[in-house]
Symmetry: C2
């Protein structure tokens, strides 16, 4: 899956790119079938919402779930990243499923991912980005991702360490700065069906609201980094900030459906 | 301002009615000019968000602000209520400004207002409703009101007393019921500019999400009740559940601009 020049230019200009219909219904059903068991696990990689048992994030799922192990090396996720980051030598800095669970999904305050990658992990340059795959519809009601377009052009912004708002500590950006950025760039919330993808720059300022609806808004994030931009501080656990800088070896495009076929009981 | 038969039928069917452009820019500017001083007051009527100094609600503003004193008797708010409730003898059960403040505005869980009016105030029948006036734009990002259309037809639903989620106790509806209602009716979030109005039935199930944006989503609520349906329990303070059942005497349609004219310094 190659991005065309118009798509590359749009990413450069806006800081993100929305791609509908990247994964089909069979692939999404296969991935979603794993989620109940993933979120049910009691292990450090599964972070719960503050004051609730609802899942917030399941980290490093590729090491403990065979379907997500394949997804983490899927060419439809990795190839666009290679194009946009200008290197075929990419490693996975982070891989997770965010639940934004029905009724209980809580906010993520305004932040740049690179802010956290730099402050906590000492990543040298913002040559890293996110590939997000919708496992459920994101609509206007269930806390979709909100972006401030073009904010990636401002470099790394000053941030404060928020350890109180939610269960997951984050380097967040102050209200005055957000007010100024929104006055310039506005806010967008790309919405779409399960199977859609959102690619966004490590410096793009984003947030997401609460989810009060009965519709969970599951999303997978593959954070790709260039191998020549590997992190230099190992403060966070490896399941949050991966210390294995081996380049990703992509699987075939049909790796998910092939896995499902292999596992299906043989016909009589 | 009279509602036409199609509007009356729509309210009956859906449980709400959205009316754009009811108040003009001059009137809205006059009302908004009062808000900073209103929200700055330290008094029991001004409720703050949990764990923050951000205002959540200012109750009973008509008794302590002269502009809102006029708004509470404005014919564009009261007349449609009289039509929909089928009586010219209406009193104000509650009058407030909800701030849904920029960055800090927190959620209101799914509830019916009549659920609280019945449980706390012993209001005999759901012959009461809300007239909401937008003092700021409500858009998809700043925590707009969410309705479950047609849910008013189910009567009063079982509710539990939520005293933990936010700073304001509310009788809220359980997740299982909401899931069922949304499967039937969906969710809508009427959006529009300052000056728009939303009329909704006391039994319409509604909620609103967090506001992470720099755009406060101020809204005035006039809760109208029929005088022959007055509350019978005085558990809550009168500034939350009004004990004065005097019928509202409407003011002229230009009462806001006339007030502004009177107060303007005379030309030399």
């Amino acid at each position: 899956m190659k991005l065309n020049p118009a798509q590359l230019a749009e990413f450069e200009e806006q800081g993100y790119l929305f791609l509908p219909d990247v994964f089909d219904a069979e692939e999404i059903a296969l991935l979603n079938g794993e989620l109940p068991a993933i979120f049910a696990q009691q292990r450090p990689e599964v972070v719960r919402e503050k004051g609730s048992e609802a899942p917030r994030t399941a980290f490093h799922v590729q090491t403990w779930n065979p379907v997500f192990e394949r997804l983490a090396r899927h060419p439809r996720l990795v190839e666009p990243g290679a194009q946009l980051l200008g290197s075929d030598e990419l490693y996975m800095h982070q891989f997770k499923v965010n639940a934004k669970a029905a009724f209980d999904g809580a906010v993520w305050q305004w932040h740049q991912d690179y802010g956290t990658w730099a402050a906590d992990d000492d990543m040298p340059q913002p040559r890293a980005m996110n590939i997000a795959l919708f496992l459920a519809e994101a609509n206007e009601f269930n806390g979709p991702l909100m972006f401030i377009p073009k904010s990636h052009r401002l470099g790394k912004l000053r941030a404060g360490h928020d350890v109180t708002t939610t269960s997951y500590p984050l380097w967040t950006i102050d209200h005055e700065t957000i007010t100024r950025l929104v006055a310039e760039g506005g806010i967008v919330a790309p919405k779409g069906a399960a199977g859609s993808m959102l690619l966004f720059h490590g410096n793009l300022v984003h947030a997401s609201g609460s989810n009060l609806t009965p519709w969970s808004r599951w999303i997978v994030y593959l954070s790709l980094n260039r191998c020549d931009n590997a992190i230099r501080r190992f403060k966070r656990p490896t399941y949050i900030a991966n210390r294995d800088f081996t380049p990703i070896a992509m699987l075939p495009d049909d790796c998910l459906t092939a896995y499902a076929r292999e596992r299906r009981p043989a016909a009589e």
